[in-house]
Subunit: 475 residues, 2 copies
């Protein structure tokens, strides 16, 4: 990367070449863009640009490319990995996409919608609903994250089991390349074999290869029925047996399959008001599972029969079917408040890992044993999207601990857990991406061939290295 120009020169050039793009430079205006969601990073910025069109993004990038100004694209600023936060140099331009927030088109006969990057996820969901369709991406942060960020990070969430990750939901994208060229491919086709899959390459590249400015997304018919159960299971192996049974009994109707240890339920009940455990008694593990259907059919009956059968096989120890929408929401609310309960419980360490579903029982057993042995003061709270093999393998210090103490232990814990993940054929970042947080981890666990391949592509598309430097790939 060439040396960055002096801030005054850079700002002057941006003001001259991109006169129509609002530029924030005052501290009070830029502050919300400079700290990440988890408050791990506090950066500085040359300015924050708020373009309203792909043409404006193009003008910004062309100028930054010619001058060697580094760029940090930012959507709703909800990255868990510091992926959208500028560094401390004050030389990086943050480009916020929030002002590009139109729904450009919706085609119900083709089950597709075209939206700009700055649309809130919740806004996309509502636009689909209003047209009598369903857009299945679902994250806890739906009200604040933006669809452009969801695509840039290939977001996962609660409905991956049935509908796939964000990449699988996109039919086409519009993106501005690092030198300002606009890649226009907002096709709404299910089948299109005309050349390399540039869309999939840009999706999930975390703003290091370009800026996604719009996307055409798949829609589905509206969901007409849901059936939801909170289930106590004997252990992780029983949960996985139940998963296979539900998949065979319900097929694609299996919508979500979340695993929760007792510690997670207890944390939510202790720290979050109006939360209580759905089942009496204490069990080691719970499953929150949901079926859904596009047609009007007796899903409760299907789920109940499957659970009775699983109970007769010893996998299910107790279960509660949601008898109302309010009860269903209560089950989900318990699940969704776990991150907040963990925050309130004090310092902890987090991992966003996945292994093949078949390896989950062995992985959880080995990793739990390691935590009990090596981190005796820590409580393991490993919960998450077990149906996808994805667990948020977190440790809390419920007896209290100094943040500095926890931080000191974190590298050792991380290495041990990630070593086990990789030994089981798993991933050190299932859905949160790499951002700034996991650059060294990616470096450590990825083969030299794969890292070189990524660097070769990065160099080909962004030869000056201006796009989100310091994120995803080590320099």
């Amino acid at each position: 990367m060439s040396a960055a120009p002096a801030a005054s020169v850079a700002l002057e050039a941006l003001r001259r070449n991109c006169a129509e793009v609002p530029l924030l430079t005052l501290g009070e205006d830029t502050a919300p863009y400079l700290t990440d969601h988890r408050r791990l990073y506090h950066g500085q910025a040359l300015a924050v640009a708020l373009p309203r069109s792909a043409a404006q993004v193009s003008a910004l990038l062309a100028c930054c490319h010619s001058l060697g100004i580094a760029v940090v694209p930012q959507g709703g600023n909800t990255s868990y990995c510091g992926g959208a936060t500028p560094d401390e140099s004050g030389q990086q331009l943050v480009i916020g996409l929030g002002h590009m927030n139109r729904v450009r088109a919706i085609d119900t006969a083709n089950y597709s919608i075209t939206v700009e990057a700055g649309c809130l996820l919740a806004h996309v969901q509502r636009a689909a609903d209003a047209a009598g369709c369903y857009f299945p991406l679902e994250l806890g942060s739906a009200g604040s994250c933006q669809i452009g960020g969801n695509l840039a990070t290939n977001a996962g969430g609660l409905n991956v089991l049935r509908f796939g990750m964000a990449r699988e939901l996109a039919l086409g994208i519009e993106a501005v390349l690092p030198d300002g060229r606009v890649f226009q491919r907002l096709r709404s086709l299910r089948k299109d074999n005309t050349g390399y899959d540039l869309k999939s390459l840009l999706i999930g590249s975390e703003g290091t290869l370009g800026i996604i400015t719009a996307a055409t997304l798949k829609l589905w018919p509206p969901l007409r029925r849901r059936a939801t159960a909170f289930v106590a299971v004997a252990d992780v192996a029983a949960a996985i047996a139940l998963l296979a049974q539900l998949r065979a009994a319900a097929g694609e109707r299996l919508h979500s399959f979340e695993l929760l240890p007792r510690a997670a339920v207890e944390l939510a009940c202790r720290f979050i008001a109006d939360t209580r455990a759905p089942l009496d008694g204490a069990h080691a593990w719970y499953v929150l599972c949901e079926l859904s259907s596009f047609v009007d059919e007796p899903l409760d009956e299907l789920l109940q029969n499957a659970l009775v059968q699983a109970s007769s096989l010893g996998w299910v120890l107790d279960a509660a079917l949601a008898a109302s929408e309010a009860q269903r929401r209560a089950f989900w609310s318990l699940r969704e408040t776990i991150p907040e309960a963990q925050r309130r419980a004090g310092p902890g360490v987090k991992h966003d890992i996945s292994v093949p579903v078949s390896a989950l029982p062995a992985f959880v057993a080995e990793a739990s044993a390691w935590v009990r042995r090596e981190v005796p003061a820590g409580t393991l709270v490993a919960y998450g999207h077990a149906g996808d093999g994805n667990l948020h393998f977190n440790i809390n210090w419920l007896g209290g601990a100094a943040a500095a103490d926890v931080a000191r232990q974190e590298p050792l814990i991380r290495r041990a857990i990630h070593d086990l993940v990789v030994a089981h054929g798993g991933s050190i970042s299932a859905e949160h991406g790499i951002g700034r947080l996991k650059v060294a981890e990616l470096q450590h666990y990825t083969s030299p061939v794969e890292l070189d391949l990524m660097r070769e592509i990065k160099r080909a598309l962004d030869p000056k290295g201006i796009m989100n430097p310091g994120k995803l790939l080590a320099p």
Copy 2:
């Protein structure tokens, strides 16, 4: 690309550096590898190498890279676009993957299978069946095409509506890069956000960025029920209305939705023995639709109810539900013999196009009117996977025509049809890819930005241009 070495020097180097890899050089041995499936291209080769492992592919590519020997990867040699056939120079090395044909692993709890590139598609399907699972990729050529070629070309086929293209079925791949490096990423994870999506980039790159040597694929539970109907519809708009209704009524159970004009049914009945029209009377358009389910449920009833309703709305004019597996096979056999019937009917021109499903009625109307006006001697036989917006928009000269006459008209027809496709937001290659056949078409219809981006990636990964030169991208 650097100048190729003399054939004798190249062969000598390959024999020395890759002594363990069988090399065919006799005309009688190499002949089957030199002509494409449609007999459009007749090439020559330096030799045909038949490696048995990724290490052997690696040795071959390292040698070819260092000497500048061009390489043509070949699976089952069933490309419709000449994508696997060497050019006429006699300087290209064909690498046949057919000897790498092991099933490496199957993990039923994780619903995944790992296979080598040279496995026949039918072999992968049978291995999944034998393990109590289902692998949904389905092509007419399943008994001769290889899974490596299916992935290299992102194959589509009959089940895309429910399960997606080949790219969406792959969890991981192993591939040898142009310089011989092995990219190992045979993970079987549903969620893995660790860097660029190199897998999707290599899949569908038609052997121009590397050679896929193995893949880990998604499996599903076995299908327990199917319901199949052959339906007469008023017109293409009625077919699309029926599609939306079936999607709403059956959700993901909608497995296939094929559109056939009367001319296609008549051709099959005339040229293929033991084929007869499933419905009495003559209708302008037919739909062959199928529902399937992973669970034991009354699909026939569901399909019948939907068709009765569609009939009351005037979309469906007549319908036959398959009452037995034999009848179901007869419906499908009629559909699958159309390409053979077209071959027997004499010369013709073919297009593999897609448009958004919502644009199909207007596109078919406009393109048909053009054909009637400009190609009065031709009969339009536009049939295919309408549920995905994909039609094989073919024209036959049923009154007889000299092949040379047809060939003379082909460029004009192709340009007119493809212009209309693009005007409707469609693709000039929905599922067959580009190969050698459509290089000029891709060049004509793709934006300079997108072509440049593809070339930049090609140069980064294959700087010497040895991988399948002359295919996909113009030099």
